[in-house]
């Protein structure tokens, strides 16, 4: 019924690392919530079901907990359903997760042959006899990636995560998405092994696309939680790049590199859990104080909420993959694994991998820009609204949640070798050789890439030297005893006020302009000019809304099609009000005819005859003459 191998335990640890600080935070958040019982019940059931998913050892239990996880998270989004958008987001989330579940269900049904309580080994046996493994792979992919939020199944994330209460956003984005990653590890290794090359390339491509698209949409977002949600898409993309590389190397027989890439993916999974939870927590703290998710209404919060601001800064550095943070280390590993592929002799890989490298590099640059925006607009400068003015630091429990999570982030940064050793054990548990010795050949100081002529990074040295140089300089500054005076900002002589600051929209302006072809933004510009002068105006407002391309292409059109279909079905069904006997007559005719045609000797002639007779009969008896 349950399994407790290293993989499961590592993910249990991941969930606990994500959940325990979150429980503290949630305790502090609780007074803010009206339906406390509802919230508490689903909150703990949610955590419980996530643990249930990662330790379940058969399909029945897995699917049960999986659906329970969806159900509880859906209810959690609805905890504070005061706005229509929240309700819609919850609905959208639930239908998307159900969509994924459909494919998961099919996947499990095929690999279990209907006996849902068999173990993974037997599943593997059945799967190996199945004639179309790629079909299984795609079912699995659709099932898990719709939960993980990879492109093009990512659309629900920027709606669902902001709508949930902040502790829940942190859990959903930080932890729940990882459960899907667990699913990929578990079932690709334990059931669908070995993998054809195409599978790895598919995952690599999806990962590269997700990372780019996620960060691009994050940049154009003003809703702080939606911004973070879009970053989740990006990071899931990065994890998938690592995962895809691992699969590719495995197919090519380069097992050491493969293990390295998988460790990188796992490491990034952990990192993303830590910093994304922290980001959502601090964003939630800001939201809690200012009662708005709109970044344009923040500003200057670092002065009143120093701990929140520090927590956000740590997480922002980490998610932007700046050295020496943990986010940097895992991305470094993924880069190294990709670069070790230079001597592979396969043209499709030679084309795919540089693109993935490019996507990852591009993502890194854009992520920095995005987090400068998020941090700068939220915490720096002057407050932009009265809400921000009256904000103050959150209560003790929320603070302690953030501090604990910050410790998780820092521990991932400082104890990297320890974690890597642990992830290495996971891979050993999945039947690989240990590569820990190759990653840390001489002590914990230098982390080596396992590729030929691979690079080396030394997280601790970097950290210490950065800290040391900065401390030294600050010490020198103190020793010098420079005279300091506080005065109004100069700003070329203009008066500084909250209104003269750059807005989030303005900050992202240049990048948005560059990616206009993707965003297709909807711009509204209104200006009250004075006496017809173009340059003199009393007030002006500028709004820009980015059109979600994927949503439009995939989802709106599906909704339209369903609507269209239902309209026609509805019209058709209303015939039965008046023509029920004719309906029954015709269905009898069809059934008997078909039995006659198919039961006995089948021939096309009779089939065509049946068809024609049926058409005539339907026309005369049901549709009738046009009045």
């Amino acid at each position: 019924m349950f399994i407790f191998d290293t993989l499961s335990l590592v993910f249990v640890a991941l969930i606990l690392f994500g959940a325990i600080p979150n429980i503290f935070y949630s305790t502090g958040y609780l007074p803010h919530i009206q339906r406390k019982t509802h919230y508490q019940l689903h909150y703990f059931a949610f955590i419980f079901s996530m643990i249930g998913v990662v330790v379940s050892a058969n399909a029945l239990v897995f699917l049960f907990f999986w659906e329970l996880m969806s159900l509880t998270s859906w209810q959690l989004i609805l905890t504070e359903a005061k706005e229509k958008s929240t309700i819609e987001a919850a609905r959208f989330y639930f239908i998307m997760t159900h969509f994924g579940f459909v494919f998961l269900l099919l996947f499990f049904l095929i690999i279990t042959d209907g006996n849902l309580d068999i173990d993974f080994a037997s599943m593997k046996l059945i799967a190996s006899h199945f004639a179309y493994p790629t079909l299984l792979f795609f079912f699995l992919l659709l099932g898990f990636l719709s939960k993980a939020g990879a492109v093009p199944l990512h659309v629900w994330l920027p709606y669902a995560h902001p709508a949930a209460p902040s502790p829940v956003s942190a859990l959903m984005s930080g932890v729940m998405l990882k459960v899907a990653i667990y699913g990929m590890f578990r079932f690709l290794f334990d059931v669908l092994y070995p993998w054809p090359l195409e599978w790895g390339i598919t995952i690599l491509t999806l990962g590269a696309l997700s990372s780019l698209i996620g960060v691009l949409y994050a940049l154009s977002e003003h809703d702080i939680k939606a911004l973070l949600a879009n970053h989740s898409i990006e990071n899931i993309g990065i994890i998938l790049i690592g995962f895809g590389m691992g699969m590719i190397f495995d197919t090519l027989g380069l097992y050491t590199l493969s293990t390295f890439a998988f460790i990188a993916a796992l490491f990034h999974t952990f990192n993303h859990m830590s910093f994304k939870s922290l980001l959502f927590m601090s964003a939630g703290a800001v939201l809690h104080q200012t009662h708005t998710k709109n970044m344009e209404k923040y500003g200057g919060l670092i002065k009143v909420m120093p701990i929140t601001a520090l927590a956000f800064l740590i997480a922002a550095i980490s998610i932007s993959a700046l050295p020496p943070s943990n986010g940097f280390l895992s991305e470094w590993m993924i880069f190294q694994s990709m670069l070790s592929s230079s001597h592979i002799d396969n043209i499709s890989l030679k084309l795919a991998i540089p693109f993935a490298i490019f996507a990852l590099a591009m993502t890194g640059g854009l992520a920095i820009a995005c987090f400068v925006k998020a941090y700068g607009i939220t915490f720096l400068g002057l407050h932009r609204s009265t809400n921000a003015k009256h904000a103050h630091e959150v209560n003790f429990w929320m603070k302690s949640g953030m501090v604990l999570m910050a410790f998780v982030v820092l521990s991932l940064m400082l104890f990297t070798p320890f974690y890597i050793e642990w992830f290495d054990k996971v891979l050993v548990g999945l039947g690989r050789n240990s590569v820990y010795g190759q990653i840390f050949p001489n002590g914990i100081w230098n982390m080596h890439s396992v590729g030929i002529n691979g690079g080396i990074v030394s997280p601790l040295i970097l950290f210490i030297s950065l800290l040391g140089v900065t401390a030294l300089m600050m010490f020198a500054y103190k020793v010098f005893g420079v005279k300091t005076r506080v005065h109004n900002a100069w700003a070329c002589g203009y008066k500084t006020s909250a209104k003269t600051q750059y807005t989030a929209t303005g900050f992202a302006g240049p990048i948005r302009r560059f990616f206009n072809w993707l965003y297709k933004p909807d711009e509204h510009f209104e200006k009250q000019t004075i006496a017809g002068h173009e340059t003199k105006f009393s007030s002006s407002s500028y709004e820009v809304h980015v059109k979600p391309l994927f949503e439009k292409v995939f989802y709106r059109s599906v909704a339209k099609a369903v609507n269209f279909m239902s309209y026609w079905v509805y019209r058709l069904a209303h015939f039965e009000q008046t023509r029920y006997s004719a309906m029954i007559f015709n269905i009898m005719l069809i059934v008997l005819f078909s039995y006659r045609v198919f039961s006995n000797e089948f021939s096309w002639a009779t089939f065509v005859l049946e068809f024609i007779v049926m058409m005539i009969s339907v026309k005369i008896l049901i549709i009738g003459d046009r009045k």
């Binding site: 200057g300 670092i302 120093p306 932007s320 700046l322 050295p323 470094w332 880069f335 190294q336 670069l339 230079s342 030679k350 540089p354 490298i357 490019f358 590099a361 591009m362 890194g364 640059g365 854009l366 920095i368 820009a369 400068v372 700068g376 915490f379 720096l380 400068g381 002057l382 230098n446 691979g454 690079g455 080396i456 990074v457 030394s458 970097l462 030297s465 950065l466 140089v469 900065t470 300089m473 600050m474 420079v482 005279k483 300091t484 506080v486 005065h487 900002a489 100069w490 700003a491 070329c492 500084t496 003269t500 600051q501 750059y502 900050f507 992202a508 240049p510 990048i511 302009r513 560059f514």
Partner: protein, 306 residues
Amino acid sequence: MILYLLSIVLLVLLAPILLSYIKATKMVLLFKRPISIFQGYRNFAKLMHKETIISKETSAITSYAPFLVLSPLIVTMFFLPPIVVGSYYVSFVDAFTITGLISLSTFFLMLLGLDSASAFGGMGSSREAFISALVEPAMVLTIFSVSLMAGNLGVGQAGVNLAEHFPKEHMASFLFAGISFFILLIAENGRIPVDNPETHLELTMVHEAMILDLTGVYLAIIESAASIKFIIFASLFASLFMPFGLEFSAPIAILIFIVKLFIIATAVALLEVNTAKLRLFKIPNLLGLAIVFAFLSLITFYVLGA
């Protein structure tokens, strides 16, 4: 080891001179009376004596960020390829780390810009974010491509390898990478077609806008960070794309290296004199070029092996 530390100190000392040299060269070319090449030092000394004025809109970020801007760059200095054969060098640090360190410095610089609550700071940060977002991928790709050609992902080792064995068989990739890197050098250091360090005009400035409200020691730190950044780029270019002259004995090799740096500086000055500042939204064209070349270089190496 001593040579290693010495060369770092030398480079740090050389940094302000190099920037002043560019400015002087430009002035000569424009038939102005050139400034002294030690003008950088004079400015530094002047700023160090001034009191620091902190605007009251700012927060703790302003008092920490300048150090955090400078320290990653100083750390980076230790990771550069050697300028003399036989000197100690950190062989293993790769492109991603170096780019990351530079980005870390830029990250705090941008926060610094936003902290003062003035429109200029935000504008500068916004533009810098835009430019560096495009620069970073190109830079990672370029350096990776070169280090792959050199046969080692560690930049230090790559520099040595290139000096020992020039990758003639990968000339195409090498050339693409070189072009790309030179564009990056200009863009990252706020030189003319991308930014104009000499004016304080709101339409043009990027780097200067971010530090508009800094004075005294803080400004001095930021200015020296800028010059160190230039020297990092210049010496990376010198080591990776002009990989010769290392095998001579220490003084001559160092001299050759300094000459290389001055050649690069002259090239930058010439370019600055001959081009006009680009509009902000035209910059992506230039940076796009850099990205394309970087990508081309990587893919040429990958697919064609050329």
